[in-house]
Subunit: 435 residues, 2 copies
């Protein structure tokens, strides 16, 4: 075939190690602080909610951390994921740019989230945990953890942000098919949930509230640990298989990206693709343009402050240094539920603050316009979150067209939108809230 479309790796190419950006940051990452003492939180303080092996990983300074064999064996069900060139999309945009996407939507859960879910379930199993509690926005994370828990024989309870619980009933069904228990958050299951409902019975929920509920559930149940699908260092770490594979695949394509783009809610898929490239950039490689994309409706990086803040709404977590809209920020009910988080991964925030990466924000109507065009050119339907990255790639491709320059663009196709089709229905009917 004349036109190379896909760049395929084999099982033997699944990375053997996760890449830890902490080893290469030019300035150290600000540590999490205890809210009362304002002193760095000691590892012991975190083991109330996380198993010790993951706490150690969270704070580990090593550049490379070995991926355990049982985790790689599960990765082999869908990894390495394809890297594809969106040639038909390029034609539709009439751009000289080359647009590549790393297709994480081929996982059984439909997104990049199983990369860390499987790792976290494995390390919890090893530590003797019997049950995991977590929160989920659009349900990508909750479904990934439900699957991973089942694979390692753990029970799983998911607090799903209420607006998504109703917008995306199939994601709940998917979690239940894998055997998880799912509650709409704010729920009647926790003190904090009941308090929120009392004050605001129609509260659509937020990731911050759901995190508070999952943490309360964790500390009030035996043999239960908490699991987070984004934000933290060990989560971003587990996602770096994406970027490592993409780097090999771009070599196969014979090109180096000029721009590397991912959407960012808590920051995990963005860092998964970007951090291996960022490491190369820091240590003297190419000066990539690296862009984290967020919704205008929840603009932590572009409109938030860089300061210490709580990770959840009930203010039960340690203080994290991050771009934040405030832990009580209530985002509008946009369809990209996974991007409705008031804060941002401390590692991503640090990179942004150091000027190593950039941030952009877009309104959802234009985002869905790009996503629909993409689906109609390339076939695959992007998740609403993914569509933000894709839309930023379109802007880059249009600039390339206007400048008459070839640019190589790589974006993370973090998940498919098959369980988010009501969002497309709203868009096609002209009923999308343009926030």
């Amino acid at each position: 075939m004349s036109q190379p479309i896909q760049f395929a790796l084999t099982q033997a190419d699944i990375p053997t190690h996760w890449y830890n950006i902490l080893a290469d940051f030019p300035a150290p990452l600000p540590l999490p602080l205890h809210p009362a003492t304002k002193e760095p939180v000691p590892p012991e303080a975190l083991t109330a909610i996380f198993p010790e092996n993951l706490v150690m990983q969270e704070m580990c300074p090593d550049r490379w951390i070995e991926i355990p064999e049982p985790v790689r064996e599960i990765y082999a069900r869908w990894r390495p994921t394809p890297l594809l060139r969106a040639t038909r999309f390029e034609e539709a945009l009439q751009t000289p740019a080359h647009i590549y996407y790393k297709h994480e939507g081929v996982s059984p859960a439909g997104s990049h989230k199983p990369n860390t879910a499987v790792a976290q379930a494995y390390f919890n199993k090893l530590a003797g945990t019997k049950r995991l509690a977590t929160e989920t926005g659009a349900g990508q994370w909750g479904s990934a953890l439900s699957m991973a828990c089942r694979l390692f024989g753990l029970d799983c309870t998911v607090y799903m942000v209420k607006v998504s619980f109703h917008q995306k009933p199939y994601r709940r069904l998917l979690m239940e098919t894998w055997g998880a228990t799912v509650f709409a958050s704010p729920s009647e299951q926790t003190n904090y949930g009941r308090k929120v409902l009392q004050e605001s019975p129609d509260c659509p929920g937020s990731l911050g509230i759901a995190i508070s509920e999952a943490i309360e559930d964790t500390v009030t149940h035996p043999q239960t640990k908490y699991s987070l699908g984004s934000v933290l260092n060990h989560v971003c770490l587990h996602q770096t298989v994406i970027g490592q594979e993409a780097m090999k695949q771009m070599e196969m394509a014979g090109e180096e990206p000029d721009a590397i783009i991912g959407c960012a809610g808590g920051g995990s898929n963005f860092s998964g693709l970007a951090f291996p490239f960022l490491g190369k950039k820091i240590t003297g490689g190419k000066n990539y343009r690296i862009v984290a994309v967020e919704p205008s409706a929840c603009p932590s990086m572009t409109k938030g402050e860089y300061r210490y803040d709580f990770g959840d709404t009930a203010q039960t977590t340690p203080l994290l240094k991050m771009y934040t809209l405030g832990s009580d920020f209530m985002p509008p009910p946009i369809h990209a539920g996974g991007l409705r988080y008031h804060g941002m991964s401390p590692a991503v925030s640090h990179a942004l603050n150091l000027g190593l990466i950039e941030a952009e924000a877009y309104h959802q109507t234009k985002v869905f316009e790009s996503a629909t065009l993409f689906a109609r050119c390339e076939g695959v339907v992007p998740a609403p979150e993914t569509a933000h990255a894709l839309h930023a790639a379109v802007q880059e491709a249009i600039r390339a067209r206007e400048a008459g320059q070839k640019r190589v663009i790589l974006f993370n196709f973090s998940g498919h939108g098959l369980l988010d089709l009501t969002a497309y229905e709203s868009y096609l009917a002209g009923k999308l809230l343009d926030v």
Copy 2:
């Protein structure tokens, strides 16, 4: 990694030709007959509803038919599909059998259907068609054709069996996202649909009725052709990329299958996997056990008669020699909407009648039990249709366990069930109709 799980091919391995079983059948396939004259239907009679290039392909005796470059270029978005070994599922079944599955669920539409949808849209485009009309059961075919039409700039109208239209709203949304127009069948759009509704206002619909509506739509609209997602020779032909790839991948795995299994509604995914192996069996290769699996609720092969019958309920098609329950058979509303067809591909029927393949039928509750176990072992959630093939593979694996024999089982994972999750909801709630 010690355990090989996946057997990956590259873009260069996408087959260059489709394999035509007609060239290798030990006895000629009975021809379609004109209902009035009972004489073989001449090619000209079919061009009212199909473009000439596809009619020629339908009757072509050549063993190999070249796949046009633009079709292969679109295939390259998701083909070759993975072959995976279900090691965790084997362990759960405590079987010495090796269970392999060819994962067609990775296509943008989530099933094997785009293999022929893309080909049919391409040949129609070439022939000057502006619009395609079709029917769909569960929506796998309708969504595949909607996507393919959009890729080649054709309009698309889909008559979706009413019970599935309501059971599977996301498949309708998917078709609309790709720009198609979708009607619940029986509909008010056609004379035949109106007639059915008058006689039976609550009619849940069937593939036979929807086919009649799509054909009527075709002959009453300009520049419109009809497109069928199964049954016919050219459809089975286009699907043979599946078996050709699987053959290469089984070689990579260093094993030859003993049993080759696919579910069969109209017969397209079954023949896609099985026919290349069947050709080898006929021409002196291994004596594979080849099994077509159907629901007990619609048992054309196991309870039907082998005779000439109409392909649709309004009796507008030529007579096809096939296993049939009668063109007026109304199957119960099982979740495997793609298997609710009264007849069976003439080529599959011929192979069954010649004793070259076998047929099995199963009740849906046991089928979902196997499917849920599979999802909880391997991650990926099977479509209800696919679950029938999977359940037959389980029976084979259990027999291997009981005999203490290693058997190599290969089944076609024809599609994922992410848009069929309400079926799993019913199963988990114990509310599945056990037909």
